[in-house]
Amino acid sequence: MKLIEFDGKDYLFEFGERERQWFFEILGRYPFIPVSHHQLSKSPDEAESEANQKLLEEAMAEQRAENKKHVQAMLHDPGRFERSESITRFRLNSGESEWLLQILNDVRVGCWIQLGQPAETKKWKVDVSSEAGSFIWAMELCGYFQAVLLESLNA
């Protein structure tokens, strides 16, 4: 995935065919983090913490349901992806790029949670064909797509 053009409003990215498949597979996993993962406070003695935590989880669940709809709409929008032979071009505006960063990070962090939240995320010793291998693969891919997006947004 690489940035081809930015016209001041829209970003135009280009994928190889395999990258396009990976991109679709990654986004198809959203949402991946359990809503209970996020905690409003680390202080268990806060009188209102339980009620506030419930509100937070409801808000997050609602937002994720909405995000999931948008992800599916984006992936199935024929005008969004221009395919020609082995290349696919993909257009996003700034707001959508920012949103996509959040989506990708949800999958990335969700994979890390599935792996048991290891402290070390650089040196993996797992069978790549195992379930853990699939999580690592998805996590690293999300990081790769995020890095391209961040570089484009900050350019």
């Binding site: 680390k42 890390w112 996590m139």
Partner: protein, 101 residues
């Protein structure tokens, strides 16, 4: 705050004293970001810029504080604003919480 202060009728010294007292009584909540090994450093820095409108330098300072010290206190705000910021940071999947100051 604007409903309480009456600067037109109070002597300036009294006004300053009243403001200091009011600020010290105002309940404050700290928005804290915690370290984790999964969020990319550039991503964290980017999120701080977007959520708080900080410069790249300030965002990187706090990102490095999170990375090296395990956490960073990002802002001290009223309950409502602190909740808002925590929610914004969690939308980006950062590990953020709020604590009463």
């Amino acid at each position: 705050m604007s409903e309480i202060a009456e600067p037109e009728v109070l002597p300036s010294v009294d006004h300053e004293e009243e403001t200091e007292a009011s600020e010290s009584l105002e309940p404050g909540y700290l928005v804290i970001c915690w370290d984790d090994p999964v969020n990319l450093m550039d991503y964290v820095s980017h999120v701080f810029q977007k959520v708080f409108g900080w410069t790249k330098e300030k965002a990187e300072f706090h990102m490095l504080q999170v990375h090296k010290q395990g956490k960073s206190v990002l802002v001290r705000e009223s309950l409502e604003k602190a909740e808002h910021y925590v929610h914004q940071l969690q939308k980006y999947t950062l590990h953020a919480t709020m604590e009463r100051d």
